[in-house]
């Protein structure tokens, strides 16, 4: 197009030059200048026409033709509104579902993390392969060692997180606090929107306590006060000066809450005490930024060297190593990648079915239009032009369907977000933005090309001469009827794949939710109370608070029974501790027995309904001053005391800072509890008495017949009667918490179920279309058969046979596809084989039944054919 501009711009001058040269020649031949000029102009001809012709050379014919095609296409589509609406709605459904899922995939998997050069960021988990521990954190001394001796990173930062109590502004509230080493903000390399982030000096011992707020926290708690910088806020009854506010999109990796704040490690009431903990306490998540040009492999090689060195320096670290230098994006989305990709596949299948359906509709229309097309070819329209016209028509459908689909997606995404499991990373970034709309547009055009090919191919095959001949209907349609049956069978096959997938997930979900958690959740409300550690600094205070709260709750009206414990079951983030069995030979270095640790008040087991299997529960005779006691779970007893009586034996273990390790007598064995999740086997567990191993706060469980909100209010009241500055958080009923714990599989199951329902409906429509068209085409034939003595029964057999043939072929192919698809699902299935025969049988039967229902109306039409009328017809 640059040539065009250049040629057209200079044309005037070219013409002037040309005439001037010609005039010059004329003068040389002896004419007067005036005469010479006029002769030259005459010889040149009409300047305006020349310019117009030149412009025409460059003008492009296709926009005009496209406009014609669009005008003609919209006119034909308007003329058959039924077809157009069905096609557009079908496509809108497909595009809408795909766009909605894409908006999630885009936000979670595709969009780069909101940090500068996110490709350089890495997570450094530690692992001890011998003990089977992976994805553990790091101790502060190990972090310092890494920071000082590694060359591949431009920065390393560690963080831990908990909640501190924000007071002084209305109701006391829990503030999600990210406790960071001083390099945190330089590693993530993000500027504040207000004030400054943390400086190295803030991380020094004895520095003034400072805090950086997230945008969400700044808005929700401080009314977006622009003068917040420099003012103090109170966390755990201690003043911190606000030095900065981060921009809205900045979140700590793995912590997606909008409301969060960052404080230096040295200023944290809990974790500052852990800075001197030895290297075997793996409590910090460690992040690093690779120097430019350093590869992850190279970084890992250096980490291996450093791990060996750490093990030498700290013998307790033997067997531990930096597991990997994991790209941060992968670390964040690794777990959800495959479920999301499976959903994308499933929703892609839905779109394919929708396309097959529309292609079928178009084919049916193409047959009725074959004469029109034949006329146009006979009148000299080149095939290319007809192809373009047909594709334009499909593209119009595609664009309308796409726009309607975008609208559906826009509505769907907000519904989808509310359905999404809360654990999904980067959920806050999900929205319908330009890239999502662009995806929808490209997808609709691609789809319209796919289904648009059907009528084009059928038009290309058709012979204008046969089509123009009067009454040449029967012969013409054989190949295109075959194509229609093929498409319907494809729809059935794809629907089969989705049905089997959804069926497997449904069975898996049913299995999962029928697992007994090991306790009786009904009628229990839980809540968490944590104690600010500057105020409540001693173990005696913690025990006293818990005892007081329990006493008050026991006597409060309507509360049947209450207890406290930490941590409660069905929670990711159990405390897994090593233990030794007194009297057993010592384990080799680097190996350890581990079990999940729970500290509980005596009534915990009766409140939760955890059965006692042997020995006794904690009772009144156990106190802080009496010998330490422990309860173990059945799993621990079976694994470590096979054929022995564990009661009376001693275990040595303890939770880190408060009470250290102690030798505890096993006084009883209790039932197993699914402490991590319903989907994971109950792990060995050991329980200690809260009074002998208290924590700064606890999770309260109350059994009551009152409503959950009444119980929650009672817990709040009693807590505030003790101390009005204590926040009560995480209030939930245990059945609710249990149901929330399976939010992710439930979401998958629901979405795949929805997709397969859509697929089933579309396939039914497809079969209906093909069979009813076939019946109308064979009216004549059916009439002859009836005239020759065929009964209704034979006619039904004829039509149903056709329907069954394509269904069975579709189901058979679908089973093969489903076998491939279900293999992808393996990681998502709980206690169900991907080849579960029952699921395949049920899906096949369901599909066949739906197919038969879909051909009910065509069958009725077929048996009502009046042979006399049908034969007179031609």
């Amino acid at each position: 197009m640059r040539r065009r501009k250049r040629m057209m711009e200079d044309l005037d001058e070219d013409i002037r030059e040309h005439i001037a040269m010609e005039a010059q020649d004329n003068i040389e031949r002896g004419m007067s200048p005036e005469e010479a000029h006029y002769a030259a102009v005459r010889k040149f001809g009409n300047v305006t026409r020349v310019k117009e012709e030149a412009r025409e050379v460059w003008s492009v014919a296709w926009p005009e033709q496209l406009l014609q095609d669009i005008r003609f296409g919209s006119r034909t589509l308007r003329k058959s509104p039924g077809f157009t609406i069905v096609a557009i709605l079908t496509l809108a459904l497909g595009i809408g579902a795909n766009t909605a899922i894409f908006s999630v995939v885009n936000a979670v998997l595709l969009r780069p993390l909101p940090y500068a050069n996110p490709g350089q960021l890495a997570l450094l988990p530690e692992a001890s392969p011998k003990q089977g521990i992976t994805d553990a954190g790091m101790s502060y001394p190990s972090l310092l060692e890494l920071r000082d001796y590694s060359h591949v990173f431009s920065g390393i930062a560690g963080l831990a997180s908990h909640s501190l109590t924000l007071t002084g502004r209305g109701e006391p509230s829990e503030a999600r606090t990210i406790v960071v080493t001083q390099d945190f903000f330089s590693v993530f390399d993000t500027k504040t929107q207000l004030g400054r982030s943390l400086l190295p000096g803030d991380g020094e011992q004895g520095a003034a306590p400072v805090v950086v707020l997230s945008d969400g926290m700044w808005r929700s708690q401080f009314g977006a006060d622009p003068k917040i910088i420099g003012s103090p806020i109170t966390l755990d009854m201690r003043p911190y000066t606000v030095v900065g506010v981060m921009p809205a999109e900045f979140r700590t990796p793995f912590f997606d809450q909008a409301d969060q704040l960052w404080i230096p490690l040295v200023q944290d009431p809990l974790f500052s005490g852990w800075m001197n903990h030895p290297p075997q306490t793996h409590w910090m998540a460690v992040f690093a930024r690779l120097r430019p040009g350093v590869s992850f492999t190279k970084a890992k090689a250096e980490m291996d060297t450093l791990s060996a060195r750490l093990a030498e320096e700290f013998p307790a670290e033997k067997g531990w190593q930096i597991q990997e230098v994991q790209p941060l994006q992968q670390a964040i989305v690794g777990d959800v990648k495959s479920p999301l990709l499976i959903l994308s596949c499933a929703v892609g299948l839905v779109l394919l079915i929708a396309c097959a359906n529309i292609a079928n509709l178009l084919l049916t229309r193409a047959t009725s239009r074959s004469r029109e097309i034949a006329v146009r070819i006979a009148l000299g329209a080149p095939k290319r032009r007809i192809t373009r016209q047909l594709l334009t028509e499909s593209a119009i459908l595609g664009i309308f369907g796409g726009v309607a689909g975008m609208f559906l997606a826009y509505l769907g995404v907000s519904a989808l977000i509310s359905l999404l499991p809360p654990g999904l990373p980067r959920i806050h970034a999900i929205r319908v933005d330009w890239s999502v709309l662009g995806f929808a547009l490209v997808l609709s055009l691609a789809a319209s090309f796919v289904f648009g090919l059907a009528p084009v191919l059928s038009a290309a095959k058709s012979d204008p001469q046969t089509n123009l001949r009067e009454g040449a209907r029967a012969g013409e349609a054989t190949s295109s009827q075959r194509a229609r049956s093929f498409l319907a069978a494809v729809e059935v096959a794809l629907a089969m794949v989705l049905l089997v997938g959804a069926g497997l997930l449904l069975r898996s979900f049913a299995r999962l939710t029928s697992v007994s958690p090991g306790f009786e959740p009904k009628g229990i409300v839980k809540a968490m109370v944590s104690l600010p550690q500057f105020q409540y600094s001693t173990q005696q205070q913690w025990t006293a608070f818990a005892t007081e709260l329990m006493t008050r709750l026991q006597t409060a009206p309507g509360m049947q029974d209450s207890a406290c414990a930490a941590p409660l079951p069905i929670k990711d983030g159990q405390i897994n501790l090593p233990f030794e069995i007194v009297g057993n030979p010592p384990l080799p270095a680097g190996a350890a027995n581990t079990a999940d640790y729970v500290t509980a008040s005596p009534r915990y087991f009766s409140v939760m309904g955890i059965p006692l299997l042997r020995g006794r529960l904690f009772n009144a005779s156990d106190s802080p001053s009496s010998p330490p006691v422990a309860l173990i779970s059945g799993a621990l007893a079976r694994r470590y005391f096979a054929n022995q009586d564990p009661v009376g034996r001693h275990l040595v273990f303890g939770f880190f800072p408060p009470n250290g390790t102690a030798s505890r007598e096993i006084v009883g064995v209790v039932g197993d509890v699914h402490d991590v999740s319903l989907g994971k086997k109950p792990e060995p567990m050991m329980y200690v008495l809260f009074a002998q191993a208290p924590l700064y706060g606890c999770e309260v469980v109350v059994r009551s017949k009152l409503s959950a909100s009444a119980v929650a209010a009672a817990i709040r009241t009693e807590t505030h009667n003790i101390d009005k500055n204590l926040p009560v958080t995480d209030v939930a009923t245990l059945p609710g918490a249990l149901s929330a714990s399976v939010a992710e599989p439930r979401f998958r199951t629901m979405i795949l179920g929805l997709f397969s329902a859509i697929a089933l409906a579309l396939a039914a429509v497809g079969i209906f279309g093909v069979i009813s068209y076939s019946v109308s085409r064979r009216t004549h034939e059916i009439g002859i058969r009836m005239a020759l003595g065929a009964g209704r029964h034979d006619v039904v057999k004829l039509v149903v046979g056709e329907c069954l043939r394509l269904t069975v072929i579709g189901v058979a192919v679908g089973i093969l596809g489903a076998l491939a698809f279900s293999r992808l699902l393996v990681s998502l299935l709980f206690d169900v084989e991907p080849t579960n025969p029952l699921t395949f049988v049920v899906a096949s039967l369901l599909l066949t039944t739906v197919a038969l229902v879909a051909c009910y109306i065509p069958v009725r039409r077929a048996i009502r054919v009046d042979p006399v009328v049908a034969l007179r017809y031609e």
Partner: protein, 120 residues
Amino acid sequence: MSTKEQKERIELLQGTLDLLILRTLLLGPTHGHAVAKAIEFNSDEVLQVEQGSLYPALHRLVKRRWISVEEGTSENNRRAKFYRLTAKGRRQLVVETSKWDKLAGAIARILRPAEQEGES
């Protein structure tokens, strides 16, 4: 159907002019006026094209990339566009020439008997 006939005639003329331009440029790059002059001169002034119609033809050839255009200076020191035959144009010239030869031969075979009849 008269429009169609007219169109064909124009196409025929266009094709011929294109062929003449390509043939002229085979001798070397030159400007529009020189092309017009060369065609007149080489055909012993039999082919009197309206010089203006040369320009749409040149544009068409540039668009098809049979000739390229560059800045140059004419013999009397005026700035002018110089047109140069491209490799593609050279190939096209061979094709067009042989087409033209065939056409001319066919027409000649049709016309010759008539002439002979007229002579006898």
